[in-house]
């Protein structure tokens, strides 16, 4: 039953992704100023928006790890699985942002990269969560999860700075799609629809990956628990 449900959900996610692709490539008109490279927007921007979502999952779960670690170790372990999964999926989405951005910038700006506030804080955000994953990978001992959770709480401070970077400072990066300059944003309703469908499709895809990653991590925790019990019994 679970496998059937997973298969139905997977088919639904793939259909939504295909619809988003169709909207971005064939329905939305070509941007007059940017040409075909302007369509990179339909997957670059949703990835940027969604990496905030997954890093927020990591932040909330890390706070719960710290809150529950002494009195509710079982719950803290579950929260830790969500924290790890949120950081991993967030890094995947942030990597897409950092690579597709320069691919868009080269034909439109004439340069691959510039050290403006938005681009730099995005790179710093990526580095913070990569370092979080490296701490989890290489730190040993029972305090690893606590150490990682503390790093995640401080790391999350870069998110509002990154979000506000092109609102507070003059940047090479374009104005926000929503809530930015009155002249900026999507004017054509077909562009707006294509953008909306792609945000939805990538959100569903990302949440699907997140849930699967949590399931895999919970299994890993159960295996590690069984192995530890077996080792104790052998002594």
């Amino acid at each position: 039953m679970k496998k059937l449900l997973a298969a139905v959900v997977a088919i639904g996610v793939i259909a939504l992704m295909a619809w988003g692709f169709y909207q971005a490539m064939y329905v939305a008109p070509t941007d007059a100023a940017q040409g075909p490279a302007g369509r990179i927007f339909y997957y670059h921007v949703p990835h940027g928006m969604l990496c905030y979502l997954f890093f927020t999952v990591n932040f909330v779960a890390s706070v719960l790890v710290l809150a529950w670690r002494r009195n509710y170790p079982g719950r803290a372990l579950a929260a830790d699985a969500w924290a790890l999964s949120g950081a991993q999926v967030g890094v995947v989405f942030c990597s897409v942002v950092l690579i597709t951005g320069p691919i868009w910038g080269r034909p439109v700006w004439g340069i691959w990269w510039t050290w403006d506030a938005r681009l730099t804080t995005t790179l710093v955000l990526w580095l913070i969560y990569v370092s979080y994953l490296l701490v989890r990978r290489f730190a040993v001992g029972s305090e690893m999860q606590t150490l990682a959770a503390v790093l995640a709480v401080f790391g999350a401070l870069d998110m509002p700075i990154n979000y506000l970077a092109n609102r507070l400072w003059r940047t090479q990066h374009p104005s926000p799609v929503f809530g930015g300059d009155p002249d900026a944003g999507l004017k054509d309703p077909r562009m707006l629809h294509a953008f909306g469908w792609n945000v939805l499709a990538w959100a569903v895809w990302g949440i699907f990956l997140l849930v699967i990653r949590v399931v895999v991590e919970r299994r890993a925790q159960r295996i590690a628990g069984s192995e530890a019990e077996a080792a104790l019994a052998a002594d």
Binding site: Q34, G35, P36, A37, G38, R39, I40, Y43, H44, H47, Q88, V89, V92, S95, V96, I99, T100, I103, W104, R106, P107, W205, L209, I212, R213, V216, R219, A220, I223
Partner: protein, 39 residues
């Protein structure tokens, strides 16, 4: 010209996303061997 950048960006997006799916799948099947069968 802009078309090839668009295709490159789309390909990179899917290489990264599907690479992560492969990573999760490798973990899942590695766990199955430890759990003694597919679940």
């Amino acid at each position: 010209m802009g078309h090839s950048y668009m295709v490159a960006a789309y390909c990179v997006t899917w290489v990264i996303q599907l690479g992560y799916v492969a990573f999760i799948a490798a973990k899942w099947f590695g766990q199955n061997s430890k759990l003694g069968g597919s679940r």
